[in-house]
Amino acid sequence: MTAIQAARVGAGQETPVADGPAMAITRDGIRRGIMVTLPLGLGSVVFGMAFGVVAGGIPALGDGRAIGMSGLVYSGAAQMASVDLIASRAGLLAIWSTTLLVSLRYVLLGLTTRSWFAGQPMRVRLAMPFVMSDEVWGLSHREFTAARQEGRRGDLGFFLGSGLVMLAGWTAGTAVGAVAGGRMPDPAAFGIGFAATATFIALLAGMTATRPAYLSLAAAGIAAIAAERWLPGQWYILVGALAGLAASSVMTAPRTLLTGGGPSR
């Protein structure tokens, strides 16, 4: 279903509420999302700088156009992949199919947000996901799971604040990189390229507890590594996730596994 079709379906009826009232969206929630995400936001500034440098070397992306691209597309993986294609004058189909492949993981991540957007007005559902990223999703998942475990209803403002930090950091970093060009030090030298990965590992550590859970994680990791090595593009995320699900459903009934992260409902 496209967003436009969904908007039409949703416009004429009450939005379905999965469980109880919708999450609040408060100023405090936004502020908390901003504060919690700031360290990773610095990482996105650095990644944005790296993209700005690369894009600055391509005439078509000069004169600040790379900055506009970062603000509109807001995806490091998709933009980095497309830069080569743009430089080599590849066709639109190649650029767009690569973008779709790199971005499919967002559909997967979005599926886990059932309770976050339940009962929200359609304008919130249509506008707020624009700021979704791996990091925003990961931190929000932890925030809302913790809230639920404490018997509180989460504050969706957290997601918005977190996303605004990442979007602003990415776009500002692109601007700096585009202006500074190749005169910048390589961010990898400071280990900053590992910041997002380390955060995801820490989030993962807070989720897993049981032996079958570890086994399905091992299956996901091994499959992802193999797929990343032998398949083109970014199929590895989907392949790894599906392998993890397959492994866990072989071992036991799905609902009893990996519940440390809390149910998505």
Binding site: A3, F117, A198, L203, L257
Partner: protein, 99 residues
Amino acid sequence: MTVPELAIAVLGMAVILYLTRIGGILLAARIPDSSPVLGWIDQLPAVTLMALVAPAIVHAGWPGMVAAGVAWLIAKRSGNVLVAMVAAVAVIALLQRVG
């Protein structure tokens, strides 16, 4: 690539990104409470995170594996994601300089 061509390419990318960002979210809201699919969706966060990080760790070589172990242990012990992240970044920066 000319500027109008680039504009079309970038706008198309922006639309694709938006549709994938919103697609899963809108789909999730329409899954009924009784659906057996929810059992799998509950597990998606962990296995998806694992699929994201595993190749990145391998690419970072042995410093990456040590840093990943540090992040995991600190997060397990303290539950503090920020401390775990900062420690792992410090460890990998240090090890890459040594190695």
